[in-house]
């Protein structure tokens, strides 16, 4: 039908403009720019220089590996910390409180990362809430160094990303029939066995979805490592920011960006492969 064709192109055109201009072309540009560098005469030519530089200077690849390992660690931590909460909200607490508590979970998310990270600066600082409280209680005389350490950075990264673990896990737990747990319990299974054999396998799709989003957010975060991290807690995004906003070597920055994109894609691909899921499901 003629009208259907018109409607189809009416729908297709804006979507194509969005995806081609803002997703596809920029990423091709990122890829191309990363293989260009200035020669001695100062003109841009094809070159592997940006990638050679990455391996030549150990600070770059060390930071890269450090960030990757750290992000995996925070992702595991987010799962361990939030899984009991997701279970509590879906299976334990009465429905009346569950909706209120779930709302409470979402509030920090909408308030935004900058504000909540700033909150942690106030809490963890030398004259912050924790140190002043301990002093007031007479437990310490001089402040403990909490801010600008790996600990404060971990807290910040966990705080800003953990919600993205809870929500998908809650969604899968809601579809778990309580009678399965009751049956296992009647047959004498211990709590640990029920969690290991029934609850976790059932919520696996949610856990994988959550892990993918948490990993991606942590690996690409700049605010928490930069504000809360110490001098030793180098984050790879900081290298990208430096190349773009301080030293203005955009081609080197493009190479770093492309490596980060490859790293996050590889980990996400692996997680999807191992769990037999498709990318389509991640958004749900």
């Amino acid at each position: 039908m003629e009208g259907n064709k018109k409607a189809f192109y009416f729908l297709l055109t804006p979507v194509l403009i969005w995806l081609v201009l803002l997703i596809i072309i920029p990423h091709i540009d990122l890829f191309v720019s990363s293989f260009k560098a200035e020669n001695d005469a100062g003109t841009l030519v094809w070159s592997l220089e940006n990638y050679i530089e990455f391996f030549r200077d150990s600070i770059y690849w060390r930071t890269f590996l450090n960030t990757a390992m750290y992000a995996i660690g925070v992702t595991l931590l987010a799962f361990v910390v939030t899984f009991p909460i997701a279970f509590y909200l879906t299976k334990v607490v009465s429905k009346k409180y569950a909706s209120f508590l779930t709302l409470l979970l979402l509030i920090p998310l909408w308030i935004g990362e900058l504000v909540t990270i700033y909150g942690w600066v106030i809490i963890l600082g030398d004259h912050g809430v924790i140190n002043e409280s301990l002093k007031w209680l007479g437990i310490i005389d001089t402040p403990i160094k909490l801010l600008y350490t790996d600990l404060s950075m971990t807290i910040g990264l966990l705080y800003m990303s953990m919600l993205f673990m809870i929500i998908p896990v809650m969604t899968t737990l809601e579809s778990l029939d309580d009678s399965l747990i009751e049956a296992a319990s009647d047959l004498g299974a211990s709590k640990w066995t029920i969690i290991r054999r029934i609850v976790i396998p059932h919520s696996m799709p949610g856990i994988i979805n959550g892990a993918i989003i948490v990993f991606m957010l942590v690996i690409g975060d700049y605010v928490a490592p930069n504000i809360l991290g110490g001098k030793s807690s180098l984050w790879f995004t900081e290298q990208i920011y430096n190349q773009f906003l301080s030293t203005f070597n955009w081609n080197e920055g493009a190479a770093f960006g492309f490596l980060l994109l490859m790293l996050s894609s590889a980990v996400i691909w692996l997680a999807l492969k191992l769990s037999g899921q498709k990318l389509d499901k991640v958004g749900q």
Partner: protein
């Protein structure tokens, strides 16, 4: 361990304690920010020196309250404008994309859908730098080849809007798409058999059905834009958005006025969330 099964008091008590500690962890930064916004002190630190509204209203040499701090007020205004433009664009294109992917069949649909959901798993920094690279490239090309100085392609308000829209549309698409899955296609078939065109049936049948999801998508993308830092920082011109302004103040010149502005955000989000809870309850 679940509502219907008995548990030992020790298990129950321990579990409840863990959940309580978790929620304390969740709200602690927000409480700390809010309380210290009213501290009569020039430093963002304890001890408590008495209640004061100075950090909202004062205009003296050593205290500049929020409502006299022009840079901060301007950045809030810039953020509101950016978020409004981004949310309108994202909601429109996201809704169109949802209609396209849910209701149309065409070649390369799977590939196109892959690009549409890719922003979920692309770190924000990468979107920022790749859009910066390609817009700068196009801008330079226009200027050197045709002598056109197109402001849209250099860092500034519109580039920020487009950069945030590149992922905002994805979230709007998923939110609207989730509701579209529940749409009864016979409604549209009825309209079509009554000689409505496809576009008319979208306009008069589908869109009204999607309205709650469209409003939701607008709210979600607005808040995403309002708190975005990672993508924005690369695309920003001279007009700072609130998160960028907050970031530089936290790094270089923090006074309790930051608590005042953060408190306003916390207050606004909390009221909106509670109102939303009551509204959705009344509907049931």
């Amino acid at each position: 361990m679940i509502r219907s099964l008995p548990s030992s008091p020790l298990y129950k008590g321990g579990y409840t304690l863990y959940v309580a500690l978790f929620f304390l962890f969740l709200v602690l930064p927000l409480v700390a920010i809010s309380v210290l916004a009213f501290n009569d002190s020039n430093f963002i630190a304890l001890p408590w020196k008495g209640f004061s509204l100075d950090w909202f209203f004062a205009n003296t040499d050593d205290r500049l309250g929020l409502f006299h701090d022009e840079d901060l007020l301007i950045s809030i205004w810039v953020s509101i404008l950016t978020a409004t433009a981004m949310a309108i664009l994202s909601t429109i294109v996201g809704t169109i994309a949802a209609l396209l992917f849910e209701q149309e069949k065409f070649r390369f649909k799977g590939l196109l859908y892959f690009f549409a959901i890719a922003p979920l798993v692309i770190p924000g920094v990468i979107l920022g730098i790749s859009i910066l690279l390609s817009s700068t490239y196009v801008g330079n090309l226009l200027e050197t080849k045709y002598g056109i100085d197109a402001a849209v392609f250099s860092p500034g308000f519109w580039l920020v809007v487009f950069g945030q829209f590149s992922f905002g549309a994805t979230y709007a698409m998923l939110l609207v798409g989730a509701r579209l899955k529940k749409f009864d296609p016979t409604l549209e078939e009825a309209a079509l058999s009554l000689k409505a065109t496809r576009l008319e049936s979208i306009r008069y049948i589908t869109i009204p059905f999607l309205k709650p999801a469209i409003i939701g998508a607008f709210a979600v993308t607005f808040l995403m834009s309002f708190s975005n830092f990672n993508t924005t920082i690369f695309l920003i011109g001279s007009d700072q958005t609130l998160p960028v302004e907050l970031f530089s103040r936290i790094k270089f010149s923090s006074t309790p006025v930051l608590n005042a502005v953060s408190f306003m955000i916390v207050l606004f989000i909390t009221i909106a969330a509670v109102a939303n809870l009551f509204l959705s309850r009344n509907k049931k």
